[in-house]
């Protein structure tokens, strides 16, 4: 709403307008604070939309108005707390460090409690420019820190903005703790609260959240808040939503009447039953060429350690599908660079928290007439261990095709590994241990050959302009390899063929945070800021390989990084296209046998090219680029890292080849 300057002319115009009664409803909103308004307030019933439409007048305080004392002063007394103060006490008991939010009036009570009652510390308010950014930040933060971030949003428009990011987190089985404001009681809603009011606020995301509730009292709130947290972080983990009534937030309660905060601990993760684990161990020990396929296995830093122990114990290869940092990239048993061959050679395939096990052992040919084919050799046996068998929703189809397996253990993979390791140790004979050692040596050689091949492949187009993605990865690796680094986001690193995983030495759990989960673009930029926020207190150098299309969904997150001094190096993988979509359209042109030269129409981000450096600079972020000569890249990265080490974000825009 634009406001006019209070010049003499506009003042006169306003008086005339008021005399005609045209601003009756606006005046009604002013209430007793303005004398002018009192004279016309009864003239017409208020229309929610009208005040904004006829707002050339800004109510002014007059002598007459000031003379009228407030009739109903309402201030929470010293012996009271607001409802949202108590809510904050509960949130503090759950250990939240941050609350990411784009401000919204439906949670204004909680907002004020956070910054004043809570001192804006634990949780600290992180100002976001889009609810999707707030949720995606929480998504990335969890995967770096291992605990949820609180997110606050409007119950309607805010949640609608947040929903795609929430879906990503749900598909990725990452807990996001989302609170949304809503004025449940229709009798007390301000005009705007009707637009933002909703009967069942969480309905729109109920298909892809684990639990939600709308508490009607502070006792109800306390129980639901703790319950929501426990549900969210117990595998299978997923987002939860709590609807905070506006009046419940804002009203005062005598301190002595505040309910107790529940102390219920987080339940332990489900482990595989002993009989199934014993059977799995027997199959592993007996197998001649077992391979582990792992995806969301490592929930905690211990997950990688356990998997390394098990793989070394049985001399089995590991294919890391990269939704988590499951296995060191340069471990001799890592067979990810030859995944298809490793699966094809295997006589036992063990899937540990694999989101799409069917696609791990089958192929689907994407032609006009689609066909499928197994990747495995005849007679290969299969085992799965996953919480996916414990949690399925009907509507959204993230459960994938059903693969026939020989043993399915419905349990958390990481929590099941200790008992599986112990069972294997108990069952492995000296003869089998010799077999395991010989197998390990062969796998190590295969891994070495694959790594050498990757380096040779990286050398092609080494000096090309635009910069090859291999060159970009190699240049970045050269700058960070001696630092305590963390790759917080990289769209193409999610792919087994992604260059960082082929060229870099990932050997710490926080060095890779996985990907979006649901494939919703727009995750990368905010998740990298969230991951960097978590890494900040650990002193890690956070880097992201940032795709251009992803950044443009909500580039305001760069401002959030600058505003909150979140150190993050974002290196643009700027191929000036929604390139995956471009390939899909190309496929359709080919299938229809027409105009294959038009496949790029509608998917390119050119004419004009976006200047990402200028975009970043406009939001207070250090930036360089666009860089399309590979020779210029190393020095630019070095300068940007110096900025990041000072505690600030930096962007280096690199114009790259398409893949």
């Amino acid at each position: 709403m634009a406001r006019l300057r209070d010049t003499k002319r506009t003042f006169i115009q306003r008086r005339e307008f008021l005399q005609k009664g045209a601003l009756a409803s606006a005046a009604a909103l002013i209430g007793t604070a303005a004398g002018e308004a009192q004279t016309v307030a009864p003239a017409a019933p208020a229309s929610p939309a009208l005040p904004a439409q006829v707002a050339p007048t800004t109510p002014i305080m007059t002598a007459a108005g000031e003379a009228i004392g407030p009739g109903d002063v309402q201030v929470i007394g010293d012996k009271q707390r607001s409802g949202s103060d108590f809510m904050l006490d509960v949130f503090k008991s759950l250990g939240f460090e941050y609350v990411a939010a784009n401000p919204g009036s439906s949670f204004r009570g909680l907002h004020e409690s956070i910054i004043n009652y809570g001192g804006n510390h634990a949780p600290e308010m992180i100002t976001c420019m889009h609810e999707e950014s707030a949720v995606a930040m929480a998504h990335g933060y969890f995967k770096a820190e291992g605990k949820p971030m609180l997110v606050a949003a409007h119950g309607t428009v805010g949640l609608q903005h947040a929903s795609m990011a929430l879906y990503n987190a749900w598909c990725d089985r990452v807990p996001v703790y989302l609170v949304i404001g809503n004025y449940n009681d229709a009798a007390v809603r301000r005009p705007a609260e009707w637009y933002h009011g909703v009967q069942d606020a969480a309905l729109m995301v109920r298909d892809f959240t684990k639990w939600d509730d709308t508490p009607w009292s502070l006792t109800h709130f306390a129980e639901s808040a703790v319950r929501a947290y426990n549900f969210a972080v117990t595998p299978p983990m997923a987002p939860v939503v709590l609807v905070l009534d506006g009046i419940l937030q804002e009203q005062g309660v005598d301190i002595g009447k505040l309910p107790a905060i529940p102390k219920t601990p987080v339940p332990g993760p489900p482990q595989g039953d002993s009989a199934s684990v014993e059977q799995a161990a027997r199959m592993l020990v007996a197998a001649e060429s077992p391979v582990f396929v792992v995806d969301r296995l490592a929930r905690t830093p211990n997950g990688m350690k356990l998997l390394v122990e098990l793989a070394e114990l049985v001399g089995a290869g590991v294919i890391d599908q990269t939704s988590r940092m499951n296995f060191p990239t340069r471990h001799p048993l890592n067979q990810s660079l030859r995944a298809a061959a490793a699966v094809g050679d295997a006589d036992l395939i063990v899937g540990l928290e694999v989101a799409d096990f069917w696609a791990s052992v089958n192929t689907l040919r994407d032609q006009l007439h689609r066909s499928t084919e197994p990747r495995t050799k005849a007679g290969a046996k299969m085992i799965t261990v996953t919480t996916g068998d414990l949690y399925v929703r009907a509507n959204y189809q993230d459960f994938r095709r059903l693969q026939d397996v020989d043993l399915a253990i419905a349990a958390d993979g990481e929590a099941t590994l200790p008992s599986l390791i112990e069972a294997v140790k108990r069952l492995a004979t000296a003869d089998r241990k010799r077999v395991f050692q010989e197998r390990s040596a062969k796998l190590a050689e295969a891994s070495r050959v694959a790594a050498d091949r990757a380096r040779v492949n990286a050398s092609y187009a080494w000096n090309a302009s635009p910069v090859s993605t291999a060159r970009l990865s190699a240049e970045l690796w050269a700058q960070i390899k001696n630092e305590d680094w963390s790759l917080v986001s990289s769209y193409y690193t999610s792919d087994l063929g992604g260059w960082p995983r082929r060229l870099w030495n990932f050997d710490k759990p926080y060095q890779w945070l996985g990907h979006a989960g649901g494939g919703g673009i727009g995750y990368g930029a905010p998740a990298s800021v969230g991951g960097a926020l978590a890494n900040k207190k650990h002193g890690r150098l956070s880097v992201a390989i940032q795709t251009d299309g992803d950044l443009m969904y909500a580039p305001g997150v760069l401002w959030t990084a600058a505003h909150h001094r979140i150190p993050l190096l974002s290196v643009m993988n700027n191929n000036r296209a929604y390139h995956m979509e471009l390939m899909h359209v190309q496929r359709m042109c080919n299938a229809r046998n027409r105009s294959v030269d038009r496949g790029a129409v509608g998917s390119q981000i050119t004419d004009p090219n976006i200047d990402y450096a200028k975009l970043a600079v406009s939001m207070g972020v250090y930036a360089e680029g666009p860089i399309d000569n590979p020779v210029d890249l190393g020095p630019a990265l070095k300068r940007a890292i110096a900025v990041v080490k000072r505690g600030e974000p930096a962007v280096v825009d690199v114009v790259t080849q398409v893949r």
Partner: protein, 179 residues
Amino acid sequence: MSTSRCLGDAEAQRKSKSLCVSESLRLVITLILMLVTTAVAAQVRPAPQAPPRRQAPPPRQAPPPKRESSEPTDTKAAAPPQAKAAADATPADAGAALYKKNGCYECHVNDAQGGPQGPRLGPNPIPFPRFAAYVRNPAGDMPPFTAKVVSDQDLASIYAFLQSRPTPPPVKDIPLLAP
């Protein structure tokens, strides 16, 4: 608006077996280097879609194609057809533009070096008959390119472009690629 856009890892792996053809708008400097064996032609971009100036057989003699069930039986594919003459463009020049225009770069990347969705095509591409047969009737995930959408003549030009790709420096000479 946000939509699911990523292909799964499995799909990417499947696509890695694919092969495709067309032209490139970028990367022209090295084309002339390959044919003229001098380093003069840097910075010059070929006119898009300029026709080849001479016949465009593969510079190296290709061995007979290995018979595969997916290969066409048309023996015309065994040799590139005659290309049109042009004043100042080589077949590789024309091929660069066609490689880009027809979307080959989308999977096989700007310089034909390959990527997650398509293997490296050059330098030293597979023999032309096999190349042509695969483009017309690919066995994997690669979309087919019929003669209606990419002519035999254009295919030959693209092949010349692939042959002209520069050989990279040895890995041992690239410090950034040290293990």
